[in-house]
């Protein structure tokens, strides 16, 4: 959900871009963190924990807590609260420690 009206703030947003989450097409704004676009789309589970496969989401927003690690364009353990969104990005829910895969 985007904030459309705010008593103090206006939001400058980049170009609209599309990306995929586990193959599903989603939209966001270029340059915002991937996690912001996912949150807007209502996606809360970003990865599964290593031992117990518990859901993990967005927690600190400043790249410190490791809760939001996902696989982006084949690269595991990307902090999506920091990583800027680009057109055509392939984002995947990370399971376990994360593995490299061929770029799609």
């Amino acid at each position: 959900m985007r904030i459309t009206q705010h008593p103090i703030l206006t939001f400058e947003r980049g170009e609209k871009v599309s990306f995929t989450l586990d193959g599903m097409r989603l939209e966001g704004y270029e340059g915002e963190p991937i996690a912001a676009a996912l949150h807007d789309a209502g996606v809360k589970v970003l990865r599964r924990s290593i031992s117990l496969s518990r859901p993990r989401g967005f927690f600190c927003a400043v790249g410190k807590c490791s809760s939001c690690l996902m696989r982006v364009d084949g690269k595991p353990n990307v902090r999506v609260c920091m990583e800027p969104l680009r057109e055509g990005m392939k984002v995947e829910t990370q399971k376990g420690e994360g593995e490299f895969v061929e770029r799609g």
Partner: protein, 358 residues
Amino acid sequence: MREVEVVIVGGGPAGLSAAGIAAQAKAEVLLIDDGQHLGGQLVKQTHKFFGSKEQYASTRGIEIGHILEKGLEGYSNLEVWLNSSAVGDYPDGVLTVLKGERLLKVKPKRLIVATGASERMLAFANNDLPGVYGAGAVQTLMNLYGVLPGRRALMVGAGNIGLIVSYQLLQAGVKVEAVVEAMPKVGGYWVHAAKLKRIGVPILTSHTILKAEGEDWVEGAIICPLNEDFKPIEAAQKRVEVDIICLAVGLSPLSELLWQAGCRMKYIPQLGGYAPLRNRDMETTVKGVWVAGDSAGVEEASTAMVEGRIAGLAAASSLGYEVENTDGLKREVREELEMLRRGPVGEMVREGAKRALI
């Protein structure tokens, strides 16, 4: 490997202030920040600051960040690296920096650590569920990126951050079901609490959260009153329907680089955890390593700016760079710092700062 006279790690209020004054003194300065923009956490602070004119009172945090950043313009002796994390400080004084995807080595003659603080966690059942956020994260998501974390929130902690972020949630259109606070009274300034009370948000003191409920994300929370010994009175627990649990239970200094550099650290609860011992110039026990802002002890952005100026001035002057009337200015900023910590509100920090002083 790049040699630089003054390296400042962290581009928040402390680091920006340090960079500004060191650059003004004509030292060669490299400012490193891991984010996409300067300003640190000021970039999401929509509330107006208190204090005096020197610390930008009644200006919003966001604007203060812009003012400080503007102050760095026009210095050819200052370089800024964004998207760059200082990841290691080595015994030979080399700092490794992950700049984008490249690992670079930098050798600072003087290092100022202004890395800020991180949010504390709280132990309760299911505290790892998506939908449990640090208060700062909620602020970032809403105020910087314009995205809502959910519809209904429980705030844990009635210190200034908990109160301010609750109000900001309301401004963004989120319903705040309640603020719970383990202490018997509100910790933050009354003016922030009053804003919530007027809107009808219950602030439940002597209350805590026992459990987050939900399968894959937060769908509710169990809250509970506490007795005088801070033990939950479980018979009186109740469920609130929320999809956001926001934790505002304090901050701790981000001190990894200081530990790595070998600075003597001391556990000082009044400063939020382990803090480096330092002298009045903010120099640590390791010669050539300074500290400023929340990484020196959790306080306010206003004191961080003043500490940044103290450290920046001292680091530059130790290399022989002076501004006009350095000694007078040093005295002036020290007085500012004392003034900011005056009164009953500053009592805790005054005590903490005293314990960290060598």
